[in-house]
Symmetry: D2
Subunit: 141 residues, 4 copies
């Protein structure tokens, strides 16, 4: 388990497609920002610093699942509630519940569940999953 | 079942993040282009035209699942093999197998499976799922 | 002349390129959002509404000039000071001064000057420049 | 003067905004890809390699000017004719003429002129303009 952090995004005109609704890849852009925002809010430093101290260059995605419930359009403000549901040996499960506050109450826009790793570089330059750094996990709990 | 169509994308410098690899939301941008390319290759006209003829404004995503296997970087050319695995009453399952041709053979980059609908506008402006238009299904098989 | 409105943007990891700095097209994304934010802050309604009331579908860009002074990276918060410098008969000049507050003071990131029009659709579907709607100009001054 | 290289881009649904036309920041994305494509076509290696051999980490933009003449929409294929108009001591002027082949002939979409530098990192991590590397200039002429 972990803290839950809220990331807020405004939907802009350019985030929407010719159907007038958010073009779905942009949701993943905000989700990635929300993931990073989660770690920053917990006190995890920039990846340049963790590269030096822990060999962690970032948290690449290995698996994602998203369920789109309602559309959103420009002018909307979206709340992304971010949470780490599970810590595994070399990966973790990060979840996102995305909502919009409407006059008639909260509207669920989408839910997303990801598996990410703490990525390090192998000598040949390829990415590998590092064991969860205990320093980072402690900051997030 | 359906035809399988190949969509090709070049990875550009600006598609990559500070870790030097494709920023994952960009994969979903190409996947969305590949989905549209599939229909265009099958002879389905632009959504403006199907809006007039069938009330179909596009194929919004309701669910997606992706598994990221290898990273990609700028200079790479990626092949997206697109296919409709299943036709349901008011939705369909579209799949993507993304590969790169390397000197030592084909490298699997990611696999993605989506549920999409043929979307129409309700009188209140919200989106609804239309029954699969038989004209479109016939073009895709 | 016009009001000056401040639009604020956070720079995210995914906004940066393999050199670790903002990929410049993303600056134009924020500039476009800042332009729309200027009109929204002045009380101009959404383009769907102005399409109905004034025939104005948006404010397409006809000319832009930008001068990039300092780089920015993820974690930065940028201020976009937006202003309409000049109203012409069928176009207007909108300017942006983009800064970051640093410990040692304000850092200029870039300056941009655009010519935009209030766009309407011609019967053949192409775009044309409408005379500046006095209702909109009054809201912005 | 330099060679002229053609970069080709397809306009996708997701490149377009609620007005149904290309959202202009996407033109700058293609322009940046076209700039890199120019150097790649001339035989200039990836920036990781030039970082090691010449200290050149890329070609950051210092000034850009674009004039938008016609709109484009999804389904269009655009040609970007890229050229280096002028070599200065520590910068160069790169130009882009963007067209679409239409049944009635070539349509001019936009013209863009940029000033870029060959960027190196200063000891404090900030960017500086390097003298034009003669090896790179020779490849481009």
């Amino acid at each position: 388990m972990s803290k839950t952090i809220i990331y807020t995004a405004r939907v802009e005109f350019g985030d929407c497609d010719p159907a007038g609704i958010v073009w779905f890849p942009n949701f993943f852009g905000w989700i990635d920002a929300a993931s990073r925002h989660f770690f920053a809010s917990c006190g995890v430093p920039r990846w340049e610093e963790t590269t030096r101290t822990l060999g962690v260059i970032g948290t690449p995605l290995v698996d994602t699942r998203a369920r789109f419930v309602s559309t959103a359009s420009y002018g909307d403000t979206l709340q992304f509630a971010v949470h780490i549901r599970e810590w595994r040996e070399k990966s973790f499960v990060q979840t996102y519940r995305v909502t919009r506050d409407d006059p008639e109450g909260e509207t669920l826009i989408l839910e997303c569940e990801e598996v990410r790793i703490f990525g390090g570089k192998r000598p040949d330059g390829r990415m590998r999953a590092l064991p969860i750094p205990p320093e980072i996990r402690a900051l997030c709990e």
